[in-house]
């Protein structure tokens, strides 16, 4: 069961630059007589993928990262500009809305066409049609033109066709996002059964929940290239961490405190590392922060430490003053303090550590240093931290 179903080698796609209509004529001439057209904008480059039978791959990335282009290359709708892609099996593809339904024709008509496009002949279609109509569950709309459908209905019908065809490889592009809750559940259930029976899946979704639920591997595309490929939890977490960092960077930078002030930070070490690179931590691990503060008038500072999510949402904050601690004097006008968080309950993702020196009374903030940490771990829990919990036995609860 480990034969390769999809193999992409150095796959790339570039669109021709067509601004004026004369460009089209020139492109035509080049294609006809020279066989290639060089003037292009690249949208996908150097993608190497190998998907084995029975595998499930989530494709994630920002809008415009090349996810849909990659899917279209795999399904054969697009022809690669560089490299090659080979698929050894029947593909069922649900690209964007409708999978090529014609708006003027009835649902029934479109189902027949879709079945023919997948190579079904008349008798096979007659056998499958009741099953398709039952799965889509759109009632009398099946005989209405598709243009009168809601987007959810279009997806229902499209998914029903694919479900009946049971392809070797299922390719879906943001399909689950459109259907209503009950249909989503139905689809997810169907995909789970399909995977359990040895089906292969490529799923494009912006819902990390769906990706983590349905896929074992994930591929993160960024700017047309594979940024990361591997275990679904590692990839989705890095992706989310990157997103959080990105949205944090979009917010206006906070005004930096001046250096000639009464209290200034000399250095911050996270797990003994003073560099600016984000520290990698395992969930349940230990976080040690060591802070050095310079005090102009040699007064004892107060140190405030806060943990925030990369988008700035506060998670936890504490200061030496709150806990009744006093930083130790290490040299003339220099103070040091250390704090340790054990059994770190932060959920996987990216977080910021903010350190502020404050005056002796713990009233005024003088400086800020922000460091980031990335929590790793395979968890599908939601939120920021894991709260201690226990599921109660129903008999126990009833007693």
């Amino acid at each position: 069961m480990s034969d390769v179903l999809v193999k992409a080698h150095d796959l790339g796609k570039a669109w021709p630059k067509v601004h004026r209509s004369s460009d089209r004529l020139r492109a035509l001439g080049r294609l006809l007589f020279r066989g290639n057209d060089r003037d292009r904008v690249s949208v996908l480059q150097g993608v190497n993928l190998e998907i084995r039978r029975g595998e499930s791959l989530g494709l994630i990335g920002e809008n415009g990262a090349g996810k849909s282009t990659l899917l279209k290359l795999i399904t054969g709708v697009l022809t690669p500009t560089t490299g090659s892609v080979r698929v050894n099996g029947e593909i069922g593809a649900l690209l964007e809305l409708g999978a090529g339904f014609h708006p003027e024709y009835s649902g029934r008509d479109n189902v027949a066409m879709a079945a023919a496009l997948h190579g079904l002949d008349g008798t096979e279609l007659r056998e499958k049609l009741p099953e398709i109509i039952a799965f889509a569950d759109i009632g009398h709309y099946i005989d209405e033109p598709v243009k009168h459908y809601s987007s959810g209905m279009v997806v229902r019908l499209g998914f029903a066709v694919i479900a009946a065809l049971k392809p070797d490889l299922l390719v879906t592009d943001e399909v689950l996002a459109v259907g209503d809750e009950s249909f989503q559940k139905k689809c997810v259930k169907w995909i789970e059964d399909y995977l359990a029976n040895g089906g292969t899946l490529i799923l494009v979704s912006h819902s990390m929940y769906h990706v983590q639920k349905l896929c074992r591997h994930a591929c993160w595309l960024r700017g047309g290239e594979v940024a990361m490929y591997g275990d679904v939890f590692d990839v989705t977490q890095s992706y989310l961490a990157w997103h959080e960092r990105k949205s944090a960077a979009m917010q206006p930078a906070r005004a930096d405190a001046q250096s000639g002030v009464e209290f200034a930070l000399l250095g911050v070490a996270i797990n003994d590392d003073e560099s600016e690179t984000p520290a990698l931590l395992e969930m349940g691990g230990t976080l040690r922060i060591r802070v050095r503060v310079r005090s102009r008038e040699d007064r004892v500072p107060c140190v405030m430490i806060g943990i925030v999510r990369a988008d700035g949402t506060p998670v936890y904050g504490v200061s030496t003053e709150i806990d009744g601690m006093v930083p130790q004097r290490s040299a003339d006008g220099e103070y040091v303090c250390s704090i340790e968080f054990r059994d770190l309950a932060l959920l996987p993702g990216s977080y910021g550590i903010r350190i502020h020196p404050m005056d002796t009374e713990g009233v005024r903030v003088f400086d800020t240093i922000e460091r980031s940490i990335v929590m790793r771990g395979a968890s599908r829990e939601f939120g920021l931290v894991r709260l201690a919990h226990r599921w109660q036995d129903s008999t126990e609860a009833g007693a």
Binding site: W15, P16, V18, S21, R24, L25, A27, L28, L31, L32, G35, D37, K72, T75, G76, V77, L78, T79, I91, A93, L95, E96, G98, A99, G100, H102, E104, Y105, D109, A112, M113, A114, A116, L117, G119, L120, D121, G122
Partner: protein, 256 residues
């Protein structure tokens, strides 16, 4: 390779497309050629008093009809199928399919519809007492199929180029009447001034106009050499059209 089921689906969809929304539906297939015949008969026979030269010449009406209907099939097939790829951009962008099926289905539907029209016209003319060799209809079939392959070749070429150069269909709309008037559809070759008579052989449709008359009306004869040339032209067009289509096919999505 085009699957027959898929071709049939697209063929049916094409037919449905044409009659969708029209009250008469399929009846229109029969009605339209009859109306056209009536109008042609009135204008050319009763107003212009057109005559076909020659002692044993057929009436003008069968003379025109035998060449005009194949021309209509050819011209309409070409004009419609040129935009077949462009019109189905939405489908092509979402589903992998052999694209030539779209062009083939479009050409076939034009030829099928006008084949029925042609038969109706011939039967009606025969019923009105014109001397139509209905027993030669089976001989006319290979000729019709040859015209079909010529149309198919030209259609594949045009449909592929149309994706890149959108003016082609407009250009074609202007060129087709020119092609019709330089072929002996409305007139007989003998009516032309001496120096033009040979020139009209450059028009590929000249052969078909005269061959259909030769078979169905026994008017004029076709030397075997011209049949050979016509077969060669049709097959060459089909070959070139198919080659160009295959060459450009991988790039359609980039330009649609």
């Amino acid at each position: 390779m085009i699957g027959p089921t898929l071709l049939l689906r697209f063929f049916r969809r094409e037919l449905k497309n044409r009659f969708a929304g029209s009250l008469s539906g399929g009846v229109w297939v029969l009605l339209q050629p009859l109306l056209q015949l009536a109008v042609t008969s009135f204008v050319f026979v009763h107003v212009f008093k057109a005559r076909v030269p020659g002692a044993d010449a057929p009436g003008y009406l069968p003379f025109l009809a035998t060449a005009f209907w194949p021309w209509t099939a050819f011209a309409e097939a070409l004009l419609r199928s040129t935009t077949a790829i462009q019109d189905n951009a939405a489908l092509i962008g979402k589903v992998a399919l052999p694209r030539e099926v779209l062009v083939v289905a479009s050409v076939l539907s034009s030829f099928a519809i006008h084949c029925i029209g042609y038969l109706v016209i011939l039967l009606v003319l025969a019923a009105f007492g014109y001397d139509i060799h209905l027993s030669h209809l089976l001989l006319a079939l290979p000729l019709y199929l040859l015209l079909l392959s010529l149309a198919l070749g030209a259609a594949l070429l045009c449909a592929a180029v149309q994706v890149f150069v959108r003016d082609l269909v407009q250009l074609l709309g202007q060129t087709l009447p020119l092609l019709m008037f330089t072929a002996p559809v409305y007139y007989a070759r003998d009516l032309l001034p001496e120096k033009f008579r040979g020139l009209i052989d450059l028009n590929p449709f000249t052969f078909y106009a005269e061959a259909f008359r030769g078979i169905l009306l026994d008017y004029g004869d076709i030397p075997p050499g011209r049949i050979g040339v016509a077969v060669a032209i049709a097959l060459l067009t089909l070959f070139v059209g198919h080659q160009v289509f295959r060459r450009l096919d991988p790039h359609f999505e980039d330009f649609l």
